[in-house]
Symmetry: C2
Subunit: 209 residues, 2 copies
């Protein structure tokens, strides 16, 4: 597993062409069939390699998906850290974690990921799956199986995190770039916390007023 992860982010001797072909086949399959209905066996077949080689290079289907879309992080590695502060701190800790990616050397990769996700329709489709299957299904639902409207909550959280990334890191709006991480966590944390915990049933009753 460790070897596979290292391979994903670094350069190693081996078969870069084969890796690239597997990733291209994976992108096609995920975009065409969706994450759930795609299989490593089929992707391996499309790339003309043995399924064992796909597993060897990329690990699980989840990990292959993250590699295929060039995800700047693996939600499953992140979640324990974000949850360490307790559920009341979830909003603030999500903001802190998210900012730590953008303010690190990985930030450029995250920006490239977001740009590509926004401009290339086939990537938008994959990122939609990333948010709904990887973050919501593997993250929110796994940790909070009792939580209702998990997909909506995940999408709302994503909408504020991505909006912050676009305005602060892509547009570079100075009013946001000059804030400290503590200040950003105090401003955006309650927004994210509310999206995770708010009562949607109540909301619909309000609408009906």
């Amino acid at each position: 597993m460790t070897v596979v992860r290292r391979k994903r982010s670094g350069r190693r001797p081996g078969s870069p062409d084969t890796r690239a072909e597997i990733l291209a086949a994976a992108r096609d399959a995920f975009a065409r069939d969706g994450f759930e209905r795609s299989s490593i066996r089929r992707i391996a077949n499309d790339a003309g390699v043995d399924p064992a080689l796909v597993h060897h290079y990329f690990g699980t289907k989840d990990q292959l998906f993250l590699a295929a879309i060039e995800a700047p992080f693996d939600p499953m590695e992140v979640l324990p850290k974000v949850l360490a502060g307790g559920e009341d701190q979830l909003g603030e800790n999500l903001i802190r974690f998210f900012l730590s990616i953008w303010d690190s050397p990985t930030g450029n990769r995250a920006a490239a990921f977001l740009r590509s996700a926004i401009t290339r329709p086939e990537m938008s489709h994959l990122v939609r799956q990333f948010i709904t299957t990887q973050i919501v299904r593997r993250g929110l639902k796994l940790k909070f199986p009792e939580l209702d409207h998990a997909e909506l909550r995940g999408a709302l959280v994503a909408s504020q995190l991505l909006g912050m990334a676009v305005t602060r890191h892509i547009f570079g709006i100075e009013a946001l770039t000059r804030l400290t991480v503590d200040e950003l966590a105090a401003i955006y944390g309650p927004t994210v916390q509310r999206y995770i915990t708010m009562d949607f049933a109540e909301l619909r009753n309000q609408d009906a007023d």
Copy 2:
């Protein structure tokens, strides 16, 4: 004025090349010198035309700026509508207005604007100016001259509006696309309202705890 506005959005007989040259010169000038330090005289000179022609085609410098960046709306036309419901409704009404753009035929133009703003660095620079000078200076500061941290509030509001646009309209996340405007206004309205009204002094004290 009305004629100028119609010219901006439609096709008319005249000098499309001259118009395009003025717009290109304007984009260069705004990107190079910023909105404040750019002048119609200089832009006209760069485009090799008389300043009167720039005024004739585009109106004021503000309107030329909006045309140059292909802004999907003019904040000054929008503000009275958004404020009509009173200050307590500002958050919800901003969400409703913003959604009305994306759900209208102009939505494609808004999506193109956002894609271009995110992928082309020179456009990011112009959109940063659009948010800080057009929305904040002409909008928030003009209507609420007593409001502190207007630039920050404008940037925070932009971060949630743009994040909603990216996740709902560009990624098309189903959990968001299937919500009604009323539901979206009830969810996102309080976020935007808080960004406009929250006390930042208190926030900083909290951080120091």
